[in-house]
């Protein structure tokens, strides 16, 4: 069959092969750089991940003499990560059948996330973005956007706090301007008030003096905004709403002179004219929102703009949107009606439709950068992968979770790993090659200390639910009902 590549002398752990039974093992990998010669190895049944990893490194000659660092590997058998010894696995899954060859896939190991810091916010965190290196953008139900520098994140001093002109709360946020742009940076937040607010920040340097402000207010939705995404050029913005519509906005290159639509009436009560109302408003200017730290007043609206295009095909709330990572003229949407649709911006049509079960309400969507597979987090406690290239396939893989997944983020480069946050307060990092269990899971609820806040200063009840997660391959941030943004160092392969 095969030669045994290891003698007992070269066995790094010193386990003697004579007394221990040996198992036929087929080691293979999908990455070309780490491939070892294909054959069946007889491996002592007491070996664990570490020994197997050493073996592969030895075969690859990743040692100091060759000038390469040993790489830790994870081993997957039948889509399950090997946690104990091979012997245990055989006992559990094969009933002591030691003769059948075991196919073991090995992948470069992902290190478990390590908590770096936490930032307290006075209300629920609704959206997070890490797309600009070194900064965290967060939106919260306190109706404001905050920009936190990642370096001093643990001190929780916000670089900017941008209030929304509403008290209902912001639901999502995004950077609009590309990372290369340093000045007059645009960013946006969607609110429960059915509007998308676009802000401009002169510069992110701390010694900036000019105040940031709301530049545009994007109208058009009849329900709260659930998701906004910006194109890579920073000129287009797409927002999805609870009314099932997706609005497409093109931001003007120069600041406009006038509003596109009149303002919405503040009161609909008959017999109450607006004059009186305005007078009242003048007398009692709007009070600052409770809980904001630096006495920021409620923001005022920017230039009112209407949408340039409306895409409507979904029959329920839009859960999430994602711009296609290969085609700038394409984006994907996931909805509560259980469907995932692909839209062509140039034609303005819905060209791909994948309709899942009607109760598989998707709360969020993301796309793997490597192969274009879509991942949705669903209300029915699953993460579904949608293969959009094949016309026949619907849901290619389902990862089971314990509670609904309101937010997930794929690894920016890998085609296998993704991070998800769930309503039960657990952040999980998945390798889709091992769909039964997540690679790591970090629970918010377990970490809670005795003196943890139950209620914020303004009386909001806090819980353990997570609402937002973002991951740029290095840093992972997650926040939610607990009013905190947790920051972890998590490197995915």
């Amino acid at each position: 069959m095969s030669d045994i590549p290891m003698e007992s002398t070269s066995n790094p752990t010193g386990v003697t092969t004579g007394s221990v039974s040996q198992l036929p093992v087929n080691l293979f990998t999908r990455s070309s750089s780490d491939a070892i010669p294909q054959s069946t190895y007889f491996i002592p049944s007491s070996w664990r991940r570490y020994q197997l990893s050493e073996l592969i490194n030895k075969v690859l000659q990743n040692n100091a003499e060759q000038g390469k660092k040993p790489v830790p590997f994870e081993f997957l058998i039948n889509g399950e990560v090997l946690r104990g010894s091979l012997e245990n696995w055989v006992k559990r899954n094969r009933g002591n059948d030691e003769e059948t060859t075991i196919d073991v896939e090995y992948v470069r190991s992902t290190l478990p996330p390590q908590e770096v810091g936490r930032v307290e916010v006075e209300d629920w965190v609704s959206g997070l973005s890490l797309s600009r290196n070194g900064y965290i953008l967060l939106s919260s139900y306190l109706s404001h956007l905050q920009i936190l520098p990642l370096s001093s994140a643990s001190t929780s001093s916000a670089l900017y706090t941008l209030p929304l002109p509403t008290s209902l709360g912001a639901t999502c946020c995004t950077w609009i301007s590309p990372s290369s742009q340093d000045k007059d940076i645009l960013l946006a937040a969607g609110g429960v008030d059915r509007l998308t607010h676009v802000y401009t920040i002169p510069s992110l340097s701390p010694d900036n003096t000019t105040a940031p402000g709301e530049l545009y207010t994007l109208h058009g939705h009849t329900g709260p905004v659930s998701s906004i995404i910006a194109s890579s050029s920073g000129q287009e913005l797409i927002s999805g709403s609870w009314d099932g519509n997706i609005n497409f906005y093109v931001l003007p290159s120069a600041e406009p002179e006038e509003h596109q639509i009149p303002s919405e009436p503040l009161s609909y009560l008959p017999g109450q004219n607006n004059k009186k109302r305005r007078k009242l408003e003048k007398e009692n200017p709007r009070e600052p929102i409770e809980g904001l730290l630096d006495n920021d007043s409620t923001g005022v609206g920017g230039w009112r703009r209407i949408s340039d295009n409306v895409f409507s095909a979904h029959k329920d709330k839009i859960g999430g949107l994602v711009w296609d990572k290969f085609d700038n003229n394409k984006f994907w949407s996931a909805s509560w009606d259980g469907s995932v649709r692909g839209w062509d911006l140039t034609m303005g049509v819905n060209d791909v439709t994948r309709q899942g079960p009607f109760d598989k309400s998707a709360l969020c969507i993301d796309q793997f950068a490597a192969n274009g597979t879509l991942a949705t987090g669903n209300m029915d406690r699953t993460i579904c992968l949608w293969d959009t290239r094949q016309s026949s396939s619907l849901i290619s893989l389902t990862l089971p979770t314990t509670s609904p997944v309101p937010s997930l983020k794929t690894h920016p480069t890998s085609s296998f790993t993704l991070a998800s946050a769930s309503y039960s307060g657990i952040i999980q990092i998945w390798d889709i090659r091992s769909p039964k269990h997540s690679l790591f899971s970090v629970s918010n609820a377990n970490r809670k200390k005795e003196d943890a806040r139950k209620v914020t200063k303004n009386g909001k009840v806090l819980g353990e639910r997570l609402l937002a997660v973002d991951w740029n391959g290095e840093v992972l941030v997650a926040g939610g009902e607990d009013g905190e943004v947790g920051i972890w160092n998590a490197k995915g392969a």
């Binding site: 209902l168 009161s267 009560l269 406690r381 009386g459």
Partner: protein
Amino acid sequence: MAPRNATASSSRAASSSISRPVKSNGIAGPSTIRNKKRAVQEVSEDEDDEEFGAAGSGIDMSDDEDAEEEDEEVDEEAFPEFDSEIEDDNEQDGDDETQEEEEELDDEESGSESGYNSSDIEAMYGEADEDDDQEDYSPITSPSSSHKELSTDEKLSKMIAKNSIKPDDSLGTDAKISRAKEGVGRLVPSKLVEGGYKREYDDYEAGYGSESSTEDNPNTVGNIPMEWYDDLPHIGYDVNGRKIFRPAQGDELDKFLSNTEDPAAWTSAEDKLLQQSVQLTDKELDIIRRLERAENPDADYDPYQPTIEWFTGEGNERVMPLSAAPEPKRRFVPSKWEHKKIMKIVKAIREGRIIPNKPSAAKPTVYAIWSESDQSNLQHAMYMPAPQLPPPKTIESYNPPEEYLLTEEEKKEWEETDKEDRKIDFLPAKYDSLRLVPGYKNLVQERFERCLDLYLAPRTRKVKLNIDPESLIPKLPAPKELKPFPISTSVVYRHPESSRVRSVSTSPDGLWVATGSEDGIVRVWDLGNGREVWKWNLKSGAIQHLSFSPYKDECLLIALVSGKIAVLSPLALVSPSVAANTLTHANTAFASSAATTKIGAGKDIKGVESIKWVRPNESERERGVLVYVEVPGTPKQVSWHRKGDYFATVASDASNKSVLIHQLSKHSTQSPFKKLPGQVQKVIFHPSKPHFFVATQRYIRQYDLSSQTLVRTLQSGVKWISSLDLHPRGDNLIIGSYDKKLAWFDLDLSNKPYKTLRYHTKALRSVVYHPTLPLFASASDDGTIHIFHCTIYQDLMQNPLIVPLKILRGHKITDGIGVLDLSWVSGKPWLVSSGADGEVRLWCS
């Protein structure tokens, strides 16, 4: 040789066997055939005679007469011929013997089997002769008995006449075939052929033989009660189908007069069929008289007939008991058949097939005990061996191996099972030596039962119902096949201080959840992530109940507090067009000026004066409080009409104004019931008809609001109804009760529940149908929610299918109260429940 007492019935076989040797010889002359025929005839006559003897007077005499005639003929010829035949046969046999020995040998068997030969036939014939003789004698002897009354002949003919009543067919035969030949008809000029003539005849006499059919004018109405014609002028129809009119009837006086004057009146009877009185004939009167005396109604019947002495008595003595016929010749000649038989034996001895004086086989001294060869009667066709006992097994040994012994548990189990159910009927025990084995106490009983087995004695058997209990459970589809339905908690809407949440409602677009808790605050939550987005503090005690308007173009919420109904709308959350619709709907009825209060529009209706539609103050209006309706008592339930304009409230402590129907667009309130049948628990509008359901403690009444009538009363069979919901199609209704029951009513089926389910361990608080999917849920004080699937078929013949799907646990029981209210999310298989623990949960599939 052959049985002489051969019965007549087997004589046919005999006749065929007679013909056999003749045939085989192949020289049968015509005389033999004749003889054979005759023999057959005679035999059949024999049969007849015997039948006559057996059947007595019940025989057909016409045949008998023929038989007698024939008998006489045969008597004359048969003897000599038959005898000569036999001689011939013998002679022929003698000639042919040597040639046809083998054939004879073949025939030997059949001859012996059938067991008849000519002598037997003759013997029989002789008997028959004797019978014939007797009959022949009887006319001779009969005159001796004639001195009594009638001659035997007369008696016989009388008997014949009595017993063989034949329809009088003389009329039929006498009837002329054609009267034209006789020229009876008269010639009449033809109507069709000019100058031609046509013969016309008188009508045929029907000539029915029976008396009844010759009656004139019979009523052919049939055997029906004649009262049917009581109020008709006619009493039936004659043969031609014409009506027979009622004959004139005299009055009572006429009847009386006729009774007194007419001497025959007392012997007349009324014929109901013809409605007239008929004079009874003497014969009929005689029959009546006889019947009265309990006699045979037949006048000719003589119960005291004299005995006819055929063979006894004076003059009938028999002179000679034996036949005087001379001995037949065959008695003296050696038998041909015996000769054949002997010859056969001789032949067999010669050939060595029979060994005379053969010594009998010596019995073996040793037997094979288990062999069955010694069972002598094995060849018997009906032999059935006794069932054998099974051979003993190891377990039955007095010293079985250890593994056969029962453990303590097995012993206990053995003792507990019924005697019939035990796998082994003894307890295996181990003894070191046979002498230690105690006496077997069941021996006698066992032997007795074995005897009964061998005897095939039927014994009563304990009939065990061998029914698989699984098969009795109705076949329900598995819950897996009925997905989706709510399975687990996805979102928890947390209330501060865990105040009891009495009511929950989801908006018709499935975006918002409104809850009303005991701290007096109505909260609106984001359904998807559990964020509290809006709230109203109504500041008047606990929120009793709240409900979103089912109308999708408006966003209206009604909350009930003590003495007030609040119409609310989360204006900031909804789109401007919806907000405008809502405001227009709720506010148009207010006077355009600043009038803030409006007294109930139904002023003319007695009892609604105290109901006021009040405009809230400006700060409240800004928050979205649109209208307050001040009502007596504490309203406990609100139910919307599907169009979102009318809503009904129930305040059980407001006596006769407990049920109120409000119209939002006109700000008017009506009290539909002047007097209520009891304490009203819940009300609900029919989803499509103008009907209104009112649930009191035990009954549900369905009213038609347009015609103001009670349609039906449903008898729930529960003690106290707590909740009520109507299927969105309107034909089915479920109620929950405080006595732990849930009852399903099929309104088309019955006023009683189609099904009453009892599965909660505590009082039910809420039952709800899903607005679109085939699901319903019930919540109870035991902290659980039960989810059911319910398919209602379009086919009215098929009962609704109810399948329990899931028990949702999660709500904590606080102060004995568990889950208080339920609400389905429209369009999704999701359920929102509120509990006494201050939690509102969203259950997702």
